[in-house]
Amino acid sequence: MPTTLAMAEASPAKRLSAVVQAAAIPAAAIAVSLALFGVFVGLFGANPIQVFHQMIRGSFGTWFSFQNTLQRSAPLMLTALCTALPARLGMVIIGGEGALVLGGLAAASVAYLMPASSPLTVKVMMVAGGLLVGGLWIGLSAALRAYRGVNETISSLLLNYIAIAILNFLVEGPLRDPASLNKPSTPPLADDVMIGSLPGLDVHWGLAFGLVFCVVTYVLMDRTVFGFSARMVGGNVRAAQLSGLRVARLMVVTAFVAGGAAGVAGAVEVAAVQGSANASLVAGYGYSGILVAFIARHNPLAVIPVSLLLGGIGASGGLLQRMFHLPDAAVNVLQGILFITILFSETYQGRRLVFKRRPVAAPMPKAGNENMVSA
């Protein structure tokens, strides 16, 4: 993203105004989409004010509902990174769902294959297995793009369907627990290898993983030479190639980290929520993650609050269904409206609507050039 490159060299005041604007436009878009959603539910006989009131109650209003929101936001943070990080290099990857499913499957397989190991080893290996498998899955998509020119959006999407087929094959066949009759699953995890809750909270450790991943990848993408090189690929591939960057490697490594994040989400889903790998892994977290990434404008730090917002919307879905008899897909409709409005608002980014100032022509930052030589 060229704007962020230029931002790094701007004065603190300009930087602040750019950050404020980058955040204010999505915030306005969110407000507009909520208003549109209010009209929509109004058409179906629900009172919009009451709907919003209940949505707030069901997401952030009580300690119980807030913990539910936190719990739901954890996988969203991780799957959002799966789209957000490659987007910094100009790749649109939508394979978070597949990476999550395979990450969960890997965690369940690890627990199945290491029955004699100590619980801590199993826990670490489950998360590592999820990271590795998810990373390889999305890394494959990026490698196909980098070395064969295969469209990464389509390939990552096809990989979603292939991952789900692998899940179905394994839980219906080789890894099936004979005791799981109605819902084919892998053998359940032993209680002592389940990843528990964060101290003092009713929220599992996935939240910590999500926060750590967001912060670490933010530092990686915005504060290191690697991240600078990656963003340069996103800004102009030709320029990156001409300055000697190994574009293909940057793409594959970034995609590995991105897919690893989604894989960890799957591992946590198995090791902290489901207790085994089954069809419940295919819950649409991967697709919601795409939305989170776009609202957060592919900034890993912004992914955190946006995940909370989307997690809150998800958490309030059940209440909407019970109180207003709206179909559970109401949440999906709101997500769709949000996504469309956010993309529409991109038009206004960088136009400096409020902060009147002449558009600054951004020359290549000097420090950046030195970085490029050393990279």
């Binding site: 390939s155 999407l157 990989l159 038009t347």
Partner: protein
Amino acid sequence: MTPELVADGTIMTGFWGVILAVLAGAIRISTPFLFVSLGECLTEKSGRINLGLEGTLVMGAMGGYGVSLYTGSPWLGVLAAGVLGIALGALHAWLCSRPKVNDIAVGIALMIFGVGLAFFLGKPLIKPSAPHLPAIPLGAWSSFPQVRAALNINILFVVGIGITLLVRWLLTRSRWGLVLRTVGESANSARAMGYDVNRVRLIATMCGGFLAGVGGSFLSLFYPGSWNEGLSSGQGLMAVALVIFAKWDPVRCLWASLLFGGASALGPALQSVGFNQGYYLFNAAPYVLTLVVMIATSSSERALAGQPAELRVAR
């Protein structure tokens, strides 16, 4: 796709049973592929990718089923599905015509929106049974029930073949097609010649949406022939890959759709003859096939044959 939908009364068994089931599936399952891929082909020829056709397909399936249920006429359902497709196509084109809005991202957004809206509005349609589209019993001469079932061809499939030829004629032989291809090859040249690029793309995307919506109505009004939330297994998205496979040629889209239909029928066909090993892996056959085809035909050095140049710039 559930197995019992394909295995209708298995008497003919063994190798020929599988072949017949795959051929029958090729004709039956290919129709939505054909319509969506023709729509996508038309849109992409104008220089834009519409990934939202999956949402259009599901909306078409829901809307077509609902209208068929309430009016009693499945053909009105098909028409309604097409009109919904036009609306979603217009939304896509309008959003993409704004500066700095990425067509791929808009496609993903419309996919989420279309599928969500269809599930929301379609809740009351899951139970009731709507009148179906009629079929032509071309297999009436045969004493084998499978042959009769396989040749029970829906009119929409025949219409699809007609539209294939029409789209090909439009693109290669008509003035309108020439303008469309100019816009897809070089928007600047088209602009210099005085054509309104956004308007041409709007029309192309709306036509593409119409076809995708009609393809969706086939799902709910003929095969599998009911409305539920698991109706589409990503046909709308695979159509995008299929267009690449077909090198942006409508007639090749037809062959590719038949191939994909056959691949989709492989798993259920094998299961119907008692070959259960890896049933779920065979379900992945169309996706693996798409991926393999894309790997085989893509190249990092040269552009794909037949690809509109504006799509290359967009990448």
